[in-house]
Amino acid sequence: MDIDLAQLREMHTRLPADLALVMVGRAALALERNNHASGVGVSLNLEGVVSIGLLSWPGAELSKIDQHDHNRITEDGAEAVALALAHRHRAWRVVRRMQREECADWLLEDAGEGRRQVVALEVSGVDRGSIVARLAEKLAQVAKSTDVDQRWASVVGFEEPAAALHSAKRKKRGN
Protein backbone atom coordinates (compact mmCIF):
# COMPACT_ATOMS: atom_id res chain seq x y z
CA MET A 1 0.00 0.00 0.00
CA ASP A 2 1.29 3.46 -0.96
CA ILE A 3 0.45 6.30 1.44
CA ASP A 4 1.15 9.75 0.03
CA LEU A 5 0.58 12.47 2.61
CA ALA A 6 0.58 15.12 -0.13
CA GLN A 7 -2.89 13.78 -1.04
CA LEU A 8 -4.39 14.12 2.44
CA ARG A 9 -6.66 17.03 1.52
CA GLU A 10 -7.95 15.24 -1.58
CA MET A 11 -8.74 12.19 0.54
CA HIS A 12 -10.53 14.24 3.20
CA THR A 13 -12.23 17.21 1.58
CA ARG A 14 -13.84 18.37 4.85
CA LEU A 15 -10.43 18.69 6.50
CA PRO A 16 -9.62 22.44 6.63
CA ALA A 17 -6.74 23.24 4.26
CA ASP A 18 -4.64 25.02 6.91
CA LEU A 19 -5.07 22.15 9.34
CA ALA A 20 -4.11 19.55 6.71
CA LEU A 21 -1.03 21.58 5.85
CA VAL A 22 0.14 21.76 9.48
CA MET A 23 -0.56 18.07 10.10
CA VAL A 24 1.35 16.96 7.00
CA GLY A 25 4.20 19.36 7.80
CA ARG A 26 4.49 17.93 11.31
CA ALA A 27 4.36 14.35 10.00
CA ALA A 28 7.27 15.23 7.73
CA LEU A 29 9.20 16.71 10.68
CA ALA A 30 8.44 13.66 12.86
CA LEU A 31 9.81 11.34 10.15
CA GLU A 32 12.79 13.43 9.11
CA ARG A 33 13.99 14.07 12.68
CA ASN A 34 14.19 10.28 12.90
CA ASN A 35 16.43 10.32 9.79
CA HIS A 36 13.84 9.02 7.33
CA ALA A 37 13.39 10.27 3.79
CA SER A 38 10.18 10.38 1.75
CA GLY A 39 9.45 7.02 0.15
CA VAL A 40 10.41 5.05 3.28
CA GLY A 41 9.00 1.59 4.00
CA VAL A 42 6.36 1.53 6.74
CA SER A 43 5.32 -1.51 8.71
CA LEU A 44 1.52 -1.74 8.61
CA ASN A 45 -0.76 -3.67 10.94
CA LEU A 46 -4.28 -3.39 9.60
CA GLU A 47 -6.79 -5.31 11.71
CA GLY A 48 -4.06 -7.82 12.56
CA VAL A 49 -2.82 -8.28 9.01
CA VAL A 50 0.82 -7.26 8.78
CA SER A 51 2.37 -5.85 5.59
CA ILE A 52 4.90 -3.31 4.36
CA GLY A 53 3.78 -0.09 2.71
CA LEU A 54 5.47 2.93 1.22
CA LEU A 55 5.13 6.29 2.96
CA SER A 56 5.75 9.55 1.07
CA TRP A 57 5.45 13.18 2.08
CA PRO A 58 6.38 16.66 0.87
CA GLY A 59 9.81 17.68 2.21
CA ALA A 60 10.04 19.35 5.62
CA GLU A 61 12.16 22.31 6.70
CA LEU A 62 14.06 20.69 9.55
CA SER A 63 15.82 24.00 10.27
CA LYS A 64 12.48 25.32 11.57
CA ILE A 65 11.72 22.35 13.82
CA ASP A 66 12.35 24.44 16.97
CA GLN A 67 9.29 26.52 16.14
CA HIS A 68 7.11 23.49 16.83
CA ASP A 69 6.29 21.79 20.12
CA HIS A 70 8.02 18.37 20.30
CA ASN A 71 4.89 16.47 21.34
CA ARG A 72 2.63 18.26 18.85
CA ILE A 73 4.95 17.15 16.05
CA THR A 74 4.43 13.53 17.13
CA GLU A 75 0.68 13.78 17.75
CA ASP A 76 -0.30 15.94 14.75
CA GLY A 77 2.08 13.99 12.51
CA ALA A 78 0.44 10.74 13.63
CA GLU A 79 -2.99 12.16 12.77
CA ALA A 80 -1.90 12.92 9.20
CA VAL A 81 -0.59 9.37 8.71
CA ALA A 82 -3.59 7.73 10.43
CA LEU A 83 -6.17 9.69 8.40
CA ALA A 84 -4.37 8.89 5.16
CA LEU A 85 -4.16 5.22 6.18
CA ALA A 86 -7.87 5.09 7.12
CA HIS A 87 -8.76 6.44 3.70
CA ARG A 88 -6.42 4.12 1.79
CA HIS A 89 -7.47 1.03 3.77
CA ARG A 90 -11.22 1.59 4.23
CA ALA A 91 -12.06 4.59 2.00
CA TRP A 92 -13.28 6.52 5.05
CA ARG A 93 -13.52 10.30 4.94
CA VAL A 94 -13.34 12.85 7.74
CA VAL A 95 -16.67 14.28 8.87
CA ARG A 96 -15.33 16.41 11.72
CA ARG A 97 -12.95 16.64 14.64
CA MET A 98 -14.36 15.61 18.02
CA GLN A 99 -13.80 17.14 21.43
CA ARG A 100 -11.61 14.89 23.57
CA GLU A 101 -14.45 13.96 25.96
CA GLU A 102 -16.06 12.03 23.08
CA CYS A 103 -13.15 9.56 23.52
CA ALA A 104 -12.02 9.95 19.90
CA ASP A 105 -10.17 12.52 17.82
CA TRP A 106 -12.11 12.22 14.57
CA LEU A 107 -15.54 11.30 13.30
CA LEU A 108 -15.31 9.67 9.88
CA GLU A 109 -17.90 8.30 7.52
CA ASP A 110 -17.98 4.91 5.91
CA ALA A 111 -20.11 5.47 2.82
CA GLY A 112 -19.28 2.08 1.33
CA GLU A 113 -21.81 -0.68 0.88
CA GLY A 114 -25.26 -0.17 2.39
CA ARG A 115 -26.18 2.38 5.03
CA ARG A 116 -23.74 5.22 5.77
CA GLN A 117 -21.96 4.51 9.04
CA VAL A 118 -20.10 6.90 11.31
CA VAL A 119 -16.74 5.87 12.71
CA ALA A 120 -14.95 7.19 15.80
CA LEU A 121 -11.18 7.21 15.31
CA GLU A 122 -8.73 7.78 18.15
CA VAL A 123 -5.15 8.51 17.06
CA SER A 124 -1.83 8.63 18.85
CA GLY A 125 1.83 8.94 17.90
CA VAL A 126 4.99 7.39 19.36
CA ASP A 127 8.27 9.13 18.63
CA ARG A 128 10.52 6.41 20.02
CA GLY A 129 9.81 2.74 20.68
CA SER A 130 7.03 0.27 20.05
CA ILE A 131 3.42 1.18 19.29
CA VAL A 132 1.92 -2.00 20.77
CA ALA A 133 1.18 -0.79 24.32
CA ARG A 134 -0.19 2.56 23.10
CA LEU A 135 -2.56 0.80 20.71
CA ALA A 136 -4.10 -1.19 23.56
CA GLU A 137 -4.57 2.05 25.53
CA LYS A 138 -6.22 3.83 22.64
CA LEU A 139 -8.52 0.91 21.83
CA ALA A 140 -9.73 0.95 25.44
CA GLN A 141 -10.32 4.69 25.18
CA VAL A 142 -12.25 4.68 21.90
CA ALA A 143 -14.39 1.74 23.08
CA LYS A 144 -16.11 4.26 25.39
CA SER A 145 -17.18 6.49 22.49
CA THR A 146 -20.97 6.76 22.15
CA ASP A 147 -23.31 7.56 19.25
CA VAL A 148 -21.12 5.95 16.58
CA ASP A 149 -21.42 2.77 14.55
CA GLN A 150 -17.75 1.75 14.69
CA ARG A 151 -14.87 2.48 17.06
CA TRP A 152 -11.29 2.36 15.82
CA ALA A 153 -7.83 3.35 17.03
CA SER A 154 -4.69 4.07 15.08
CA VAL A 155 -1.16 4.46 16.42
CA VAL A 156 1.77 5.66 14.36
CA GLY A 157 5.43 5.12 15.27
CA PHE A 158 8.16 7.31 13.81
CA GLU A 159 11.44 5.75 14.96
CA GLU A 160 10.98 2.67 12.78
CA PRO A 161 8.01 3.84 10.65
CA ALA A 162 4.98 1.80 11.69
CA ALA A 163 1.22 2.28 11.68
CA ALA A 164 -1.60 0.19 13.12
CA LEU A 165 -5.33 0.50 12.54
CA HIS A 166 -7.64 -1.68 14.65
CA SER A 167 -11.30 -1.88 15.54
CA ALA A 168 -12.46 -1.85 19.15
CA LYS A 169 -15.23 -4.23 18.07
CA ARG A 170 -18.13 -2.68 19.96
CA LYS A 171 -21.15 -2.32 17.74
CA LYS A 172 -23.90 -0.81 19.88
CA ARG A 173 -25.17 2.70 19.20
CA GLY A 174 -25.61 4.97 22.21
CA ASN A 175 -29.24 6.06 21.73
Binding site: R14, P16, L19, V95, R97, Q99, E102, V148, N175
Partner: protein
Amino acid sequence: METDTLNSLVSGAIWRAEQLEAHGIGSASQAWSEVSSLEEELAKMLPAPESEGRIARRGAVRAALKAGDYARAHALAESYAAEGAAPESLKAGLHKILEEDARAMKRRFRYAAKHHSLREARDLARRFREAGAFGLAA
Protein backbone atom coordinates in the same frame (compact mmCIF):
# COMPACT_ATOMS: atom_id res chain seq x y z
CA MET B 1 -24.36 27.58 5.85
CA GLU B 2 -24.10 23.94 4.76
CA THR B 3 -23.42 21.12 7.21
CA ASP B 4 -20.14 20.22 5.46
CA THR B 5 -18.89 23.78 5.83
CA LEU B 6 -19.87 23.86 9.50
CA ASN B 7 -18.13 20.52 10.06
CA SER B 8 -14.94 21.92 8.52
CA LEU B 9 -15.20 25.07 10.61
CA VAL B 10 -15.80 23.19 13.84
CA SER B 11 -12.82 20.88 13.11
CA GLY B 12 -10.52 23.87 12.67
CA ALA B 13 -11.94 25.64 15.72
CA ILE B 14 -11.54 22.60 18.01
CA TRP B 15 -8.00 22.08 16.78
CA ARG B 16 -7.07 25.72 17.42
CA ALA B 17 -8.65 25.70 20.88
CA GLU B 18 -6.77 22.50 21.80
CA GLN B 19 -3.47 23.98 20.62
CA LEU B 20 -4.00 27.20 22.60
CA GLU B 21 -5.04 25.22 25.68
CA ALA B 22 -1.97 22.97 25.40
CA HIS B 23 0.25 26.04 25.44
CA GLY B 24 -1.64 27.59 28.35
CA ILE B 25 -2.58 30.63 26.27
CA GLY B 26 -5.37 32.67 27.83
CA SER B 27 -7.32 33.21 24.62
CA ALA B 28 -8.20 29.49 24.61
CA SER B 29 -11.49 30.40 26.29
CA GLN B 30 -12.41 32.63 23.34
CA ALA B 31 -11.52 29.80 21.00
CA TRP B 32 -13.83 27.48 22.95
CA SER B 33 -16.60 30.10 22.67
CA GLU B 34 -16.21 29.90 18.91
CA VAL B 35 -16.40 26.09 19.08
CA SER B 36 -19.58 26.32 21.15
CA SER B 37 -21.22 28.65 18.62
CA LEU B 38 -20.31 26.39 15.70
CA GLU B 39 -21.53 23.28 17.55
CA GLU B 40 -24.79 25.12 18.27
CA GLU B 41 -25.19 25.93 14.55
CA LEU B 42 -24.56 22.28 13.72
CA ALA B 43 -27.12 21.24 16.34
CA LYS B 44 -29.71 23.46 14.61
CA MET B 45 -29.14 21.58 11.34
CA LEU B 46 -28.81 18.04 12.71
CA PRO B 47 -31.80 16.63 14.62
CA ALA B 48 -31.25 15.06 18.04
CA PRO B 49 -32.24 11.53 16.91
CA GLU B 50 -29.20 11.55 14.56
CA SER B 51 -25.89 10.58 16.14
CA GLU B 52 -24.12 13.66 14.75
CA GLY B 53 -26.89 15.83 16.18
CA ARG B 54 -26.28 14.43 19.64
CA ILE B 55 -22.50 14.87 19.29
CA ALA B 56 -23.03 18.52 18.29
CA ARG B 57 -25.40 19.18 21.23
CA ARG B 58 -22.97 17.72 23.75
CA GLY B 59 -20.18 19.64 22.03
CA ALA B 60 -22.00 22.98 22.30
CA VAL B 61 -22.52 22.50 26.04
CA ARG B 62 -18.98 21.22 26.73
CA ALA B 63 -17.32 23.99 24.77
CA ALA B 64 -19.38 26.62 26.59
CA LEU B 65 -18.12 25.17 29.89
CA LYS B 66 -14.53 25.20 28.62
CA ALA B 67 -15.05 28.84 27.68
CA GLY B 68 -16.18 29.50 31.26
CA ASP B 69 -19.65 30.52 30.09
CA TYR B 70 -21.70 28.52 32.59
CA ALA B 71 -24.94 30.39 31.96
CA ARG B 72 -24.77 29.55 28.26
CA ALA B 73 -23.88 25.92 28.98
CA HIS B 74 -26.87 25.50 31.28
CA ALA B 75 -29.24 27.31 28.90
CA LEU B 76 -28.14 25.13 25.97
CA ALA B 77 -28.40 21.93 28.03
CA GLU B 78 -31.91 22.86 29.18
CA SER B 79 -33.08 23.68 25.67
CA TYR B 80 -31.62 20.47 24.18
CA ALA B 81 -33.09 18.32 26.94
CA ALA B 82 -36.49 19.93 26.34
CA GLU B 83 -36.54 19.04 22.63
CA GLY B 84 -39.37 16.63 21.93
CA ALA B 85 -37.16 14.30 19.92
CA ALA B 86 -34.30 14.26 22.44
CA PRO B 87 -33.47 10.64 23.31
CA GLU B 88 -32.98 9.72 26.97
CA SER B 89 -29.30 8.99 26.30
CA LEU B 90 -28.79 12.62 25.23
CA LYS B 91 -30.59 13.99 28.29
CA ALA B 92 -28.49 11.77 30.55
CA GLY B 93 -25.32 12.76 28.69
CA LEU B 94 -26.01 16.47 29.07
CA HIS B 95 -26.81 16.05 32.76
CA LYS B 96 -23.57 14.12 33.25
CA ILE B 97 -21.51 16.85 31.53
CA LEU B 98 -22.91 19.51 33.88
CA GLU B 99 -22.50 17.26 36.95
CA GLU B 100 -18.89 16.45 36.10
CA ASP B 101 -18.13 20.11 35.60
CA ALA B 102 -19.70 20.97 38.96
CA ARG B 103 -17.63 18.28 40.68
CA ALA B 104 -14.44 19.50 38.99
CA MET B 105 -15.23 23.06 40.10
CA LYS B 106 -15.72 21.94 43.72
CA ARG B 107 -12.42 20.06 43.64
CA ARG B 108 -10.56 23.07 42.24
CA PHE B 109 -11.99 25.51 44.77
CA ARG B 110 -12.31 23.39 47.92
CA TYR B 111 -12.10 26.27 50.36
CA ALA B 112 -14.63 28.41 48.49
CA ALA B 113 -16.95 25.41 48.16
CA LYS B 114 -17.17 25.23 51.98
CA HIS B 115 -18.51 28.77 52.16
CA HIS B 116 -20.42 29.33 48.92
CA SER B 117 -22.74 27.29 46.77
CA LEU B 118 -21.82 26.58 43.18
CA ARG B 119 -24.67 28.83 42.05
CA GLU B 120 -23.22 31.76 44.02
CA ALA B 121 -19.74 31.13 42.62
CA ARG B 122 -21.04 31.03 39.07
CA ASP B 123 -23.08 34.17 39.60
CA LEU B 124 -19.91 35.93 40.78
CA ALA B 125 -18.00 34.57 37.77
CA ARG B 126 -20.71 35.81 35.43
CA ARG B 127 -20.71 39.28 37.00
CA PHE B 128 -16.91 39.35 36.82
CA ARG B 129 -16.99 38.43 33.13
CA GLU B 130 -19.62 41.05 32.36
CA ALA B 131 -18.39 43.98 34.43
CA GLY B 132 -14.76 43.28 35.39
CA ALA B 133 -13.29 43.29 38.90
CA PHE B 134 -14.67 46.74 39.80
CA GLY B 135 -18.14 45.69 38.74
CA LEU B 136 -18.26 43.26 41.68
CA ALA B 137 -17.95 46.12 44.10
CA ALA B 138 -20.94 47.94 42.62
